[in-house]
Chain length 360, copies 2
């Protein structure tokens, strides 16, 4: 029998990303792999055996069976986005806490249905944006919040592209209108928007415009796009996301006093350590022949990879609810909703040929 | 008497940037400081003595006197942009070769007057975009041109901001509508646009839109702005330039096969060496817990700073004309004109509230 002190996870489906999360659950001191469900019992069995599930793990031939298992505390939902609302709501109704892959839904309206179900049933909801849980994110946030070192955020650009192979572009769920209709915007674009909101301390922009050059596949799903966001206080941000260019994953942010750059914000180059670059009150040498001071590099170590830290934070919240009668932490679903809200605005602007979309 | 093998430079005015160029001329094996002219003879005298002009250097109390000196081969023109057309044309008519500060003019119409005068008088024209002459630019260009290492350019973002102090924001020529009406767009924006065109192999975009959030000073001069550029083949680029945020100077470019990043493209952190980062066919480790391969860092050494290399290249062209009867090299003024042309389109889009401007 698994450790009763650990949060028992059930996983819905055998998505590739669920392999990374299974390892994260195994690595987390607060979580344990308890069940896997797939529409194919054979696939579930193979998944469990090749992803270090304990021999005691339950293997189910349907997602419902996972939700019906009274010993499952929480579920990880890596299903196609179009299925999120159905399965996240069902999970909440079965009193399962929900760790939900991004994008959390196809639009805010759908997400609000999930949110409502989780609130009514007192379960924790968190999206699976792993980089937020890396200690590097905390260090960078400290820098961005420092009035002397960074000052006020003025502009930011973020990029997340990767070069999808022909098989991906033909068959992946993220290119299918009935499965992940937001395409790259919901995938790598999610991370771009999240990082922008994070740097803006989660204040919402007043307006969003899609940039020219959106590329769709034959089925009308977005393969490459970008947007510009503008805040009431004058700060601006741009992002670009694409399945059609080599892996690039960067943030460049400029404040009144400082700058920040990072080249691997979503997945650090290495698992145990991650870096970022900062500069404060940068200037030039006499005659502008060099910089003084030059930017400095910061490296942050971590024993556990960011996805295991995410599972640990989620499990900690679930344990508080389960053991101490705490209420669900609203912070995480609030961030999910804001991210989805801005994604929706970008999508609307794309649909309207780059018209400015005003956010309330 | 100065070395007759060297190109004899006259400098028009005592701008701060002329100090850097004076040193560059001194460092260049092909050039020599020959004359300085200012409306104030006293300022010219002080400038010459504090910038290592040789004792034989001519000190003039007007720009005309420099142009009338038959021994001056070439002039460096760091005057406010609004004066470029007058003095560059006069210089050309006096058969002086022209090294012209950026932005080359207030608009392409004005620049064409300069270009015409230079062509008619057979003198070399080059703008003072120093970073193009650093050997790092050559190495980066090789990478961008490599079909296997970088592939086809898909997207690019470039930023050049610096935090101007209150004195600059009140008094610098770049905030004055009658002197440098393009403001930051003509200043740091020039470098952004040039770098984008450079990466695009100097093909012109089909359309340009200004991004929301342009900031003007009270006199209506641009203090912060950005734009999105789109090419016929689908590639896109964005840039942001500002006087209102900490010094940031980066290029992030993504191609079908590779990526490039640089954080100090206009002025390298150090004078004698400069770096950039590249990645080719980037991917992830098993389970997406890190990158494989990770990007690589490249360092390029240079004996002479980039501004001295620029002076040397300009002088080499001038010597060919002067000594060997060569015709002026069209490459450099062509690049100037394209850069100015795109700047004009950005300015037009700003003036039209972000409307798309179609380029021919």
């Amino acid at each position: 029998m698994s450790d009763p002190q650990k949060i028992r996870f059930g996983i819905l489906g055998c998505a590739e990303i669920a392999r990374k999360l299974s390892r994260a659950i195994t690595l987390s001191p607060l979580a344990t792999l308890y069940a896997i469900g797939s529409r194919s019992l054979q696939k579930a069995t193979l998944f469990a055996s090749s992803n270090n599930f304990p021999p005691s793990a339950k293997i189910y031939g349907s997602y419902e069976d996972v939700l019906n298992d009274p010993n499952v505390d929480a579920v990880y939902v890596p299903l196609p986005t179009s299925l999120h609302v159905k399965w996240a709501v069902l999970a909440a109704e079965k009193k399962k806490h929900v760790l939900l892959e991004k994008p959390v839904a196809l639009n805010v309206g759908e997400f609000d249905v999930i949110l409502d179900a989780c609130e009514k049933n007192g379960v924790q909801l968190m999206d699976s944006t792993m980089w937020m849980h890396h200690p590097r994110a905390t260090k960078m946030r400290e820098f961005l919040s420092d009035a002397h070192k960074f000052g006020e955020l003025k502009s930011m650009h973020t990029v997340f592209t990767f070069g999808a192979d022909p098989d991906f572009l033909e068959n992946d769920i993220r290119v299918k209108p009935d499965l992940d209709a937001l395409g790259v915007l919901g995938d790598t674009g999610w991370y771009c928007v999240r990082s922008i909101l994070w740097a803006a301390d989660f204040s919402l922009p007043k307006s969003v415009i899609a940039l020219p050059g959106t590329i769709f596949n034959k089925a009308g799903v977005i393969m490459s796009c970008g947007a510009a966001l503008q805040w009431e206080d004058g700060k601006i941000a741009t992002f670009h996301c694409s399945f059609l260019a080599n892996l690039t994953m960067s943030i460049t942010a400029s404040g009144t006093k400082g700058s920040l750059h990072i080249s691997d914000f979503v997945v650090p180059f290495e698992e145990k350590q991650a870096s970022f670059s900062t500069a404060t009150e940068s200037g030039f040498t006499e005659l502008v022949t060099g910089w003084a001071p030059v930017p400095s590099q910061h490296t942050v170590m971590t024993d556990l990879p960011q996805e295991a830290l995410m599972v640990t934070e989620f499990s900690r919240l679930v344990k508080s609810i389960k053991n101490d009668g705490a209420v669900a932490e609203k912070k995480w679903p609030t961030l999910s909703r804001k991210t989805q809200y801005v994604l929706d605005a970008v999508k609307t602007s794309i649909d309207k040929g780059g018209e400015s979309v005003i956010l309330n």
